[in-house]
């Protein structure tokens, strides 16, 4: 159960090898979390993280989940809830960055599947279970890229925008159900996924994102930008006329 101060006791992670997700779990375990289910495509890669986290005294389970295999999602999600009872947080962290640049045209359809269709397909059965238990938080890792497409990664931005819009709409629908939805929009996060890129201004590390997620859960925030200043940066960028926006070195 989530408590009055926003501490939670159990979490299901979709995309268990995500560095951000693991940083979130580490923080939650240091607080009250005693049950963690990591769902990952590559179980072997999630195991070391699980082993480290297990030493903290919590119950850990790693299960296989391929977000591109839509027909498998309901069984994986239902099994996690059936085995562990109530799950207070479902964290959607699966995703890929794609190659960017001119390769985007080739990657776009695949990115939509990995970052939008797949995660949404997982969210549907997860939200059914959260509604049935009458409480819980769905946390969706989106990106500032969802707010305005940039030439360098518009395919990625488009996929995150799809997931982001779906999650926000769902959050509105779920008001009064005891279930809330939080959309997290980090800027540039320095992780394995972005190692090959030059860090952008206002870049953060995975743990800073994790801190913002845990804080957002306490506040029951609907949208969290990381760093917080990104909210205003993106507000300005969204309002810029295209002629100026296209000339920006971003």
């Amino acid at each position: 159960m989530r408590d009055a101060l926003g501490s939670v006791q159990s979490v299901l992670v979709l995309g268990g090898t995500s560095e951000i997700a693991q940083a979130v779990v580490r923080r939650l375990v240091a607080d009250r979390v005693r049950t963690v289910v990591l769902a990952a495509r590559d179980v072997a890669r999630a195991e070391p993280a699980a082993a480290e986290l297990r030493s903290g005294g919590a119950t850990f389970e790693v299960v296989e989940l391929d977000v591109t295999r839509l027909e498998t999602h309901r069984d994986v999600i239902d099994a996690a809830f059936d085995r562990h009872g109530d799950l207070d947080v479902v964290l959607v962290a699966a995703g890929a960055l794609g190659r960017g640049g001119d390769d985007q045209l080739d990657d776009a359809a695949e990115l939509m599947l990995v970052n939008a269709t797949g995660p949404i397909s997982c969210v549907v059965p997860a939200v059914e279970r959260l509604r049935r238990q009458g409480h819980g938080s769905l946390v969706v890792l989106s990106s500032v890229a969802a707010e305005r497409p940039r030439a360098s990664n518009y395919a990625y931005g488009a996929s995150k925008a799809g997931l982001d819009a779906f999650a926000r709409g769902l959050g509105d629908v779920l008001r009064g159900s005891g279930v809330d939805v939080m959309v997290v929009r980090p800027g540039f996060v320095r992780t394995r996924m972005t190692r090959h890129l030059d860090a952008a201004p206002l870049s953060v590390d995975a743990d800073t994102v994790a801190e913002a997620v845990v804080d957002g859960l306490r506040r029951r925030a609907a949208i969290v930008h990381v760093p917080a200043a990104m909210r205003w940066v993106m507000l300005v960028l969204r309002l810029l006329p295209g002629a100026i926006f296209r000339r920006l070195p971003i």
Partner: protein
């Protein structure tokens, strides 16, 4: 029977969950509703005055008892009433005060039900003398998940598991309560300031020997040599011959002000708390003074403001109440010091001495109890309260389950040494685990893994 989905939270307005709220109008309908619950179980709810998640059951059934509110019998000779569990102390008082009786124990609000008062085994300002609510229950009737209604007297072990059992042994349906005869509707109140914690403690110790009712309000934001300064209030029911000629018993609380809308979440903060506490202290008489107060003003001052919990805004508040044995009064000081250091302010911190306890999970035990209302959005609060919990448990004390909304189940066994006995009795009358609440889930109260 009416049944409708409802998003329910406690008085602190935190961590709401959705349940099916069923409001039966008879015990038969209640039994039917209890026998029909699904795997997510059920718990009874009265007027929702528990601060945390005690009367919530996410995804399951919540049995609202507000329609089971008949006062079935009044026996003036025995000074006793038989009431259905959903009857509020407010309505009970309106009936019995003009007849010359008061409830033997009342908490700081009269908007609680008889069933809730037993399930939380509530206490009042007379605990040092009269014990908690359940001590004045001659018998109670408990609907257990098998559909039986059992009449339990205090000698029955299940009575001890039900009084203070947070609704997890079954649903209390009716009870026989012993009342306190009174001869006027007034209180004779003595008010005195204490300049620091030692003085407040000494005044309460002395006051408990002379007065039936005693309580101190403590300014938890005063530091240095004023740490723990406060105002001690002692009270007794006035007699007809007293000074200022008390009138016949009457109970007519003034019409209530209301808080119509939710306040901004940051309205009650350290600064407003500091100002409020300073004013409260300053308005108390400098020297010991005796005066008269109505029953309502003395016992239920906050009931004068309807929905005052909305003042804490969207994020709500927690009430932190603990008790420590008499020889560990040092914990009071270190708690106030810690909160002062962290600049965590409470609008009303209430200090009181308890006498002996009652039920297996009842909160009161001989010692000092301190209660504080704190906005839930105060940064750093979770860690500070966790540290205070450790300190309380280490001192042989406990936190109050009816107020709790954030403790960890880890310390439960240390705080409540009779927990295993209670669990055994609970399991005996609810082997299928039908009685469930968010509180029970969060703390792992009935022994299932905390989930």
């Amino acid at each position: 029977v009416t049944a409708a989905p409802a998003l329910l939270s406690g008085w602190g307005r935190t961590a709401a969950t959705r349940a099916t709220l069923v409001r039966p109008a008879s015990v038969d309908a209640l039994r039917e509703a209890l026998l029909a619950v699904d795997g997510r179980g059920a718990v009874a709810r009265g007027l929702g005055r528990a601060y945390g998640d005690a009367a919530q059951n996410g995804g399951g059934t919540v049995l609202g008892l507000d329609r089971l509110d008949r006062l079935e019998r009044f026996d003036a000779d025995a000074g006793e009433v038989v009431a259905e569990a959903g009857l509020s102390l407010e309505r009970l008082l309106r009936t019995v005060v003009p007849l010359g009786f008061f409830v033997a124990v009342t908490p700081g609000t009269r908007h609680v039900t008889v069933g809730g008062a037993i399930a939380a085994d509530v206490h009042g300002k007379n605990h040092h003398r009269d014990g908690s609510f359940s001590r004045h229950v001659r018998w109670l009737e408990l609907l257990t998940p098998d559909g039986r209604v059992r009449r339990l007297e205090p000698s029955d072990p299940l009575f001890g598991a039900t009084a203070g059992g947070m609704g997890l042994t079954g649903v209390i349906t009716r009870a026989a309560l012993r009342l306190l005869p009174i001869r006027t509707g007034d209180m004779r109140v003595t008010t005195e300031r204490g300049r620091d914690l030692d003085e407040v403690v000494a005044l309460l110790e002395a006051g408990d020997r002379e007065a039936r009712y005693s309580v101190a309000w403590v300014d938890c934001l005063a530091g240095g040599d004023r740490l723990g300064r406060g105002v001690v209030m002692l009270g007794d029911h006035a007699e007809p011959g007293d000074r200022d000629a008390a009138g016949p018993p009457a109970f007519a609380p003034a019409s209530r002000l209301g808080i119509p809308v939710q306040a901004p979440a940051k309205l009650l903060n350290t600064w407003t708390a500091r100002a409020f506490n300073a004013v409260w202290f300053a308005k108390a008489p400098r020297r010991r003074r005796e005066h008269r107060e109505s029953l309502g003003a003395f016992f239920h001052p906050l009931d004068g403001v309807r929905d005052w919990n909305r003042l804490y805004g969207r994020t709500g508040f927690v009430q932190y109440q603990f008790v420590v044995p008499f020889d560990r009064a040092d914990v009071l000081r270190s708690t106030l010091e810690r909160l002062g250091r962290e600049r965590i302010g409470s609008f009303l911190a209430v200090l009181k001495r308890f006498g002996p306890g009652t039920g297996l999970l009842s909160f009161p035990m001989p010692g000092w109890t301190l209660a504080m209302d704190i906005p839930a959005n105060v940064p750093g609060l979770p860690g500070v309260l966790d540290a205070l919990d450790e300190q309380v448990a280490g001192a042989g004390g406990r936190v109050y389950l009816a107020k709790d909304s954030r403790a960890s189940g880890r310390l439960l066994g240390r705080m409540y040494p009779e927990l295993d006995r209670w669990r055994a009795l609970q399991r005996e009358c609810d082997p299928g685990g039908v009685m469930r609440s968010d509180l029970a889930r969060r703390l792992g109260l009935t022994g299932e893994p905390a989930a």
